[in-house]
Amino acid sequence: MTDRRTTLKLVIAAAAAMPALRARANYTDNLEPGASPPGNLRQFEPTMDGYGPDPDLIKAYEKGAFWPLTMNAEQRQLAAALSDLIIPQDEHSPAASAVGVVDFIDEWISAPYPRQREDRATVLRGFAWLDGDARHRFEQPFAKLHEAQQRAICDPICNVSRASAALQGPAQFFAAYRNLTAAGFYTTVAGRKDLKYIGNVPLAQFDGPPVELLEKLGLA
């Protein structure tokens, strides 16, 4: 498992080195420092300090406890639509937005730390491209599209290694956003239940796996 930091660093590095990123005007518009994304997707830069080297580790924190969330209403709608396209409700668990993933991502891209600030640039740039593509092709913002239309936009960017040269930037955004959505979803009660994670409870003894399972796997 490559850790997320490494993955995202590679994504960022690749994005920076990739001339294809500049292929689409509406994708590169806000690459310039201080530039605003098109439409209503204005940026609010996080300015707060972090939680410091000695935070209270015992209490449970609300999202935004240490720095303000910065997404506006339109960004939150887009974030919810894309998160739910990636992790929709099914017979096992709810959709991503139903368990707080939008707040998770908002907290993430609003955080003052270097890694999160890099992700902020990736996500906001991706949001701008996504809405631009939606308006260009379907004359509606991404969040208002039907699932089939959303998929028509996302299918070409859902795998970096298969995406065209012109779509490398958006594909890297999609990979990063899927990572964030999965990070937010699978660290909730609902996400752990979906995976049938049954640990994190005190046990009087640890018995190891059942012999029948080991036999079935040829590991007995």
Binding site: M1, T2, D3, R4, R5, T7, G50, Y51, P53, D54, P55, L57, I58, A60, Y61, F66, L85, I86, I87, P88, H92, S93, F104, E107, W108, A111, Y113, P114, R151, C158, N159, V160, S161, A175, R178, N179, A182, A183, Y186, T187, T188, V189, G191, R192, D194, L195, K196, Y197, I198, G199, N200, P202, L203, F206, D207, G208, P209, L213, L214, G218
Partner: protein, 600 residues
């Protein structure tokens, strides 16, 4: 009141101990149990694992899902507070600041130091590890043998509680029997290793970690550790009764509120405090050992971080256990007309021969482990099994391009999902999203395994610390400047790790995500990443070639000792903490004997 301040000290003290981690905690314990009055000085704040350990907290309760940040370098719930790769206001210098020559220094400014978050892996050095030069002509021999240290490994294992298994493998010793707790049951991915590693001639042993797999025997152990000392036995028995066996849940690195694993704050310090012989000043940043007119140390100077005032504490004996590099820093900063190059430095070797552990990792995905039924695999938080170095004979025959070995720390299982668990899955999923992504997550969850090689380092002249001529910390204390360069032996060893791990994963039917690294420069983790730095006040057979003698006593100043990893003249593949404790106990016994003889 055992926690005192600079102005409420209850001297006179027999001994000052600088630091409160593995080495210093062990010294304080051993000395206090025998009636010695000890003053411990810790640079960081007081820390109480019973109330501060976030044991069962889940990621969504933390900011950023518990992600590592520059404030909490190993994640929000890591036990380290006021520490990490950077300590605010306490810089250090690494020149040249570039990959391969850079050294990264992990510190923990808190009571108990790095023992609060460490991996608890507790391997003994073997006989070869104490006499490496005699075996292959490289580096330095220790001035002591395995047999000198073995009784202290026994004692430390009994005191702190270490699980493990018996072994008769070469240079992989266990105690005489009865010192180890039973090992935990292997999880499914462990069984996978146990099936495939032997096909390569690679042995798999029960892991060794300082975790209580059952309650300690508080009836017999105190008598073994403190024969003839009824009070010490009573205090230790009570301390042992207060420790809970492992709950088989929550990562040890968060700290353990029920004291089921070893950290200085839960195992060494409580009984030492219970003797009434230990006073502790926290927030006390020691920067200088002071000397009396008789050529002996008479105390230390420190900055009280809460007031900013410079203070002086005195005692008959000074023990430095501030961590290898920090103790070297204190000595180098203890300059005077008599000692222009720093104290205990007539050899010129203070700060020299800093060593770390070679690290290299490969992970894989195993189809056999996909879509397993629900299993609680929290187990002992890892290292239920491990692989000791297995190619001693080939090395002796010069059949390998590197002279020293490594062990393998291996892990897998259905661990609590974290923010990184499902990152970067495209190589397996083809970029799925929607319902398919959720199916993929269920399928691949728990099917990943990881191999971490941890290898020996031969000392070299390019790895050392000195005092930076310009930079000072927030207290005005001159800081360390690191110099680092891995040798070719270490780099080749890391490539061997990469290739070996790749072969095992493929034999398991697994897939390797990142290509196996065969470039020796890139295969090895940067200096300091393993947080195993030792050396800098190395022990040796004479005052010309070492800083400390076989008792961890400085050659130049007879009442000045080093209790941390600084005394290591060689860093075997075995994780250093257990050896630090064993040497500290041995040193403390020696101090007690000399005190009884009124020699110091």
């Amino acid at each position: 009141m055992p926690f005192v301040t600079a102005s409420s000290q209850r001297g006179p003290y027999d001994v000052i101990v600088v630091g409160s981690g593995a080495g210093s905690g062990q010294s304080a314990y051993t000395l206090c149990m025998e009636g010695v009055k000890v003053l411990m000085l810790e640079a960081g704040r007081r820390y109480t694992p019973a109330t501060e350990s976030p044991m069962f907290q889940t990621p969504e309760m933390a900011p950023l899902g518990g992600a590592d940040t520059t404030d909490k370098d190993k994640g929000f719930y890591d036990a380290t507070v006021n520490g990490g790769w950077d300590v605010p206001g306490e810089p250090y210098v690494s020149v040249p600041d570039k990959w391969g020559a850079h050294f990264t220094w992990w510190r923990a400014r808190m009571l108990g130091g790095r023992t609060n978050h460490w991996g608890r892996i507790s391997l003994r050095n073997g006989p070869y590890d104490f006499k490496p030069r005699s075996r292959d002509g490289l580096g330095f021999d220790w001035p002591i043998t395995y047999d000198d240290v073995a009784p202290y490994y026994d004692k430390v294992e009994l005191l702190i509680g270490v699980y493990g298994g018996e072994t008769s493998l070469e240079n992989t010793p266990a105690g005489p029997g009865g010192t180890l707790l039973p090992p935990p049951k292997p999880i499914v991915s462990d069984h996978l290793l146990m099936k495939y590693a032997p096909r390569f001639g690679i042995p798999v042993l029960p892991g060794r970690r300082a975790v209580l797999t059952r309650a300690q025997d508080h009836r017999t152990i105190p008598g073994k550790l403190h024969p003839g000392n009824a009070r010490a036995q009573r205090i230790l028995a009570e301390a042992m009764r207060k420790r809970s066996p492992c709950l088989w849940a929550t990562p040890c690195g968060r700290g353990c509120a029920v004291a089921a694993n070893y950290q200085s704050t839960t195992v060494h310090l409580p009984p030492a405090l219970a003797t009434g012989n230990l006073d502790i000043i926290t927030d006390a940043m020691v920067y200088e050992v002071t000397m009396g007119k008789n050529g002996r140390a008479n105390g230390v100077r420190f900055v009280d971080a809460t007031t900013g005032r410079h203070e002086h504490a005195t005692a008959r004996i000074v023990i430095l256990g501030a961590s290898a590099c920090e103790s070297a820093r204190i000595l180098l900063n203890s300059k005077s007309a008599q000692f222009p190059d720093g104290l205990a430095n007539s050899s010129g070797l203070v700060g020299r021969y800093v060593l770390d552990t070679v690290g290299s990792s490969v992970s894989g995905q195993i189809p056999l482990l996909e879509s397993l039924p629900p299993l609680n695999e929290d187990a002992a938080d890892g290292l239920q099994v491990y692989v000791p170095w297995w190619l001693y004979k080939r090395q002796l025959a010069h059949e390998l391009p590197f002279p020293r070995g490594y062990h393998i720390e291996y892990g897998g299982g259905r661990q609590m999902p974290s923010i990184g668990t499902f990152s970067g899955l495209e190589w397996l999923t083809g970029g799925s999203y929607g319902r398919k992504f959720k199916e993929d997550a269920r399928r691949y969850y728990g099917s990943f395994i990881g191999f971490d090689g941890r290898g020996a380092m031969v000392p070299n002249d390019n790895c050392y610390v000195e005092i930076d001529p310009k930079v000072k910390d927030r207290f005005g204390i001159p800081v360390l400047r690191f110099h680092w360069q891995w040798g070719e032996y270490e780099q080749r060893q890391a490539v061997h790790m990469q290739q070996t791990f790749g072969e095992i994963i493929e034999a398991m039917g697994g897939r390797i995500q990142s290509p196996i690294i065969t470039d020796p420069v890139k295969a090895i983790a940067p200096g300091g990443y393993m947080i195993h730095e030792v050396g800098g006040t190395i022990m040796g057979a004479d005052a010309r070639s070492s800083v400390t003698n076989r008792w961890s006593q400085t050659w130049d100043v007879p009442n000045l000792f080093v209790a941390d990893g600084g005394v290591f003249p060689y860093n075997a593949d075995k994780n250093p903490t257990l050896t630090i404790m064993a040497l500290s106990w041995r040193m403390s016994d020696h101090i007690l004997e000399r005190m009884r003889r009124r020699e110091i």
